[in-house]
């Protein structure tokens, strides 16, 4: 039984470990005792350099990876015990999530809508609405292979939210995009937050975090180094901005790892 809390927690991660077999050192610990919570209407920013464990964490949340240890719940549903239930409640988008070359924008979104089991009439209405909101009506019948990156990202967003999930996971959604497209994506994220969605957002770009996120967690080498709202963090660590805080924390963590020899020889 979860203890009573005033606000419902949409995402709950507690004591999460994830280990991979590594040819070099036997076992590689990608996540080391990670815990955090995200509430509806909130954007949680997972900030960390490349290889920090952001993607692994989000993939566990979206059930495509299984946790080695620890508790992960989405909307009260355990990702290990009922992965299908979790999947129907989340939308997932990353810079890598591609779209099919030989399907039109409409067909793509329709296909995923059907996979989510949305009734046909409701689905058509929903897609029409999404295409209007995201201004995609001019690329409705365009094949994926013939779209620009911006168009592809729009289709990806539409695909992510076609089933109107309460939780949306963005894994570095802007990496590799030009400024205009990145801006559009971030606007879409903000729009979704305003609709009361619970959003978890990973990035290594500080500006995005400062602009969008209600709370952030700084992660490096599989460990959450600091967590809280921006003012809280600024208060606690006495650093002028997120960037300074970030570098300071990462440096400390590096030293810690070097001293203990941990994680390199597990």
């Amino acid at each position: 039984m979860a203890p009573f809390v005033s606000e419902p927690r949409m995402i709950r991660v507690q004591g999460l470990f994830k280990e991979f077999d590594d040819p070099r050192s036997g076992i590689f610990r990608a996540l080391d005792n990670v815990s955090f919570e995200v509430r509806p209407g909130e954007i949680y920013g997972l900030l960390g350099p490349n290889g920090a464990g952001k993607t692994t964490c989000l993939r566990i949340l979206s059930t495509v990876l299984r946790p080695t240890r620890g508790l992960v719940e989405v909307d009260g549903i355990n990702v290990v015990r009922n992965p299908e239930g979790v999947r129907s409640r989340i939308g997932f988008m990353s810079c890598n999530t591609g779209i099919y070359d030989r399907m039109t924008a409409w067909e793509m979104v329709e296909y995923y809508g059907r996979l989510y089991g949305i009734p046909e009439e409701k689905l058509q209405a929903r897609i029409t609405e999404l295409f209007n909101v995201l201004q995609m009506n001019d690329i409705r019948d365009r094949l994926g292979g013939k779209m620009s990156t911006g168009m592809k990202q729009k289709v990806s967003i539409a695909r992510t939210i076609v089933h109107d999930p309460p939780v949306i996971i963005f894994d570095e959604p802007t990496s590799g995009l030009d400024v205009l497209v990145a801006r559009a994506v971030l606007q879409a994220v903000a729009l979704l937050r305003d609709q009361g969605k619970c959003i978890i957002f990973s990035t290594h770009i500080m500006r995005e975090v400062e602009k969008l996120c209600n709370r952030i967690g700084i992660i490096h080498r599989g460990k959450i180094l600091a967590e809280g709202t921006l003012p809280e963090l600024a208060d606690k660590y006495q650093q002028p901005d997120v960037e300074e805080l970030f570098f300071d924390l990462i440096q400390r963590r590096e030293e810690e790892v070097r001293n203990s020899g941990e994680n390199s020889e597990a």
């Binding site: 040819p23 036997g26 059930t63 495509v64 299984r66 999947r87 989340i90 999530t97 399907m103 995923y112």
Partner: protein, 836 residues
Amino acid sequence: MSWKNIRLVFLREVRDQLRDRRTLFMITILPVLLYPMLGLGIVEMMLTFSEQPRVVVILNADDLPASPALLDQSGIGKEWFENGVEETSKLRVLSERTQKAGDEEKSVRRPRRGEKTDEELLTVAHQLAEKIERLHGLRPADEAPANSNAAAQSNGETSSESQTNAIVPSANEIAEAAATEAKLSAAQDEISQQFGTSGFQVLVIIPKGYRAAMEVMQREIQTSSAATTNINAKTAATRVPPVLVVRNSADDKSMVAFGRVQKALHSWEDAVRKFSFEQAGLPKELQHPARLAWIEVAREEQVAASVWSKMFPALLVIMALTGAFYPAIDLGAGEKERGTMETLLISPAKRVELVLGKFATIMLFSTATALLNLLSMGLTGQQMSAVMSDGVANRVSLDFPGLAPLAWLVILLLPLSALFSALCLALATFARSTKEGQYYLTPLLMVVMGLTMFCLSPAVEMTPLYSVIPVVNVALLLKGLLLNSASSGNLVVYAIPVLISSIGYSMLALWWAIELYNSEDVLFREAEKLDIRMWFRQLLRTKDAVPALPEAGFCFILILMLQFVAMTYMKPDLTRGDPGLTMMRLIVIQQLTMIACPAVFMGVLLTTSLRATFRLRMPSMTAMAIGVGLAVVAHPLSVELSQFLVEHQVFPELPESARQVMGLMKTGDKPTWLLLLVFAVTPAICEELAFRGFILSGLARGGRLAIAVGISSMMFGIIHMIPQQAFNAALLGLVLGLLAVYSRSLFPAMAFHFCNNAIATFHAGEGGGIVADGVFFSRDSDGFLRYEAPLLILCAIAGTLMVVYMTKIVIRDQDAKRRGLVPDFRELADGEEVVA
């Protein structure tokens, strides 16, 4: 599992594939266009090829007998060909006679550019003829009248030694002969080269005085009485000089022309013979004294069936795989490459549903490709045979096979396609990119092609074993069914194992694909290169006290492969020295390098405790005693069992090589210690280290001892290759395995192995000097020591008691271990000597 999702995935994938022009081209357009175009091309090529006439030069044609006449106005008379006019047109015959006729009519064939004129051809032919005749001693350098000389020396038309073979060579002449040989070879080279560039394909040289000699012979036959015909005819016949027919077997064109000329000359010779027989007043029937008649019973559809039975199964297999190949790469690796795999995995559709949807798509394309190809090829064949019905292929009508074989074809195609689709999907899922997918799938294509080629061989027919080998079973069954619909009743029996095993294999492959879709390692493999060195280092670093299961399996496969290599390449040279010693040396080398070495080497590299791996512990005295005692009682049983099986023809007699080894033990010219060293000590140490040591330790790791002992004994049997010995060894392997597991030591097993082999060595020899008393022992007709029923019963009782005792101990230990009372030997190993 929701069918709705499977259908959804299936429909999307099919639509996606249909929109892919490359796939569509490979699967539909290519077969529909390829075969008709290929067929047309072949017909065209055959027509143009056969229309080109080949040049035959006949020298000294004037010396041919007037009747029967070989040549007519245009060339070789059409009556000498089976097909008459048509074949005459394919040979252009050039002789001095046609040359003259041509001159008179002023209608000389105008040569094309680069071609030689008739005069030039004849000149070359004359030069060649001179050289050839000289080389073969038919025309001496001093140009003596050819008639008598040639006739004297020409008992064989190509025997160049005929000049010298009558004289005994002196030492001086041997050197001369070598020089002559060199000269001869140079002359042959020259002739070969000149013939190659001559512009004609066959040269027929009619010797001078041929007609005259022939006439003399005819006359002699005519005048002689029947009683003296033999002698006279013989002398007369040898007086006729040979007609030389020169060809170049390395040249296709020459061979084609030669074939025609040869046929014509043979039928002409028949006519000459007939003429001679008539002259001699002999009955015509004597011409063909053996009276052979050829009768063809194949009907047209059977001829067609035999063509289809070769083409259809091969094509079906290859096309079913090709049809699965490209869609699988696109649906498996392509999905990863595009980045859509992750989004698909995040959708609520279950992994099974995704796999099944994709699998159904690939299978659809696989079956469609196979069927379209067969249809297109069948129709093309039919068309081709219609076009060429009066031409080359008039005997072969390629009508479609009947409905029943076609129905079988479709029924058998389904499991085959399913197998290929699932395999391709699994392999393609394993790949990270489409390029990698092609690397993984190409070996599959090669293996399948190899299997198909094997099935095409006419000697390969369906057997119970083949009926459960994937791909081979379907191809062979189909081949049989298409070949002979009349006897298909016998084959239909095989349909059940074929179908069941095929469906089984495809289910297994499908299960594998689903497993891969559930494995996050496979789905999210990082795009790092496969680093063999890294992998190897990890293998060596993450080792345990005892080998892992795959390591044990690999050890077995390594030993098996080495055995095959040894069988193929290590043939002892028994002609030199003492064959017995050679063979014994070989046996010791084989045991040490191919059985003991791999196991010990792997043990050192891959495990931390040699002691645990090879069970190098001091056994109890009881265990040693059981090892020795069991060997003594097992020997009579094993001898009588294998004799029984041979007598009832369950197994074939021992092959020659094994008999040779047995013979070694028998002859008794080797000292006993040597025999024991080779046949008892070496195998006892080497085979035990490998099979009860490394392999059994690896297999037993999972804790299922019974299965481990069973499998290790089967492996032990397989390594013995010869069916009889394999069976025997497998049975002994069970006992050996039990001994090793019971005693936790290798030494009792070694003792058993040594005693067993030592007794067998004595048994194969004199039988240890045991007197046949008729109650316990007897001797068979070969003097072979045999054991009688009372002894066998005693042995069986003693053996059973020991086996039961050991089994009880093992079960007790297992129970104790399960309750945690006794640490298992992996833990034991940690406290003991550990090899770093």
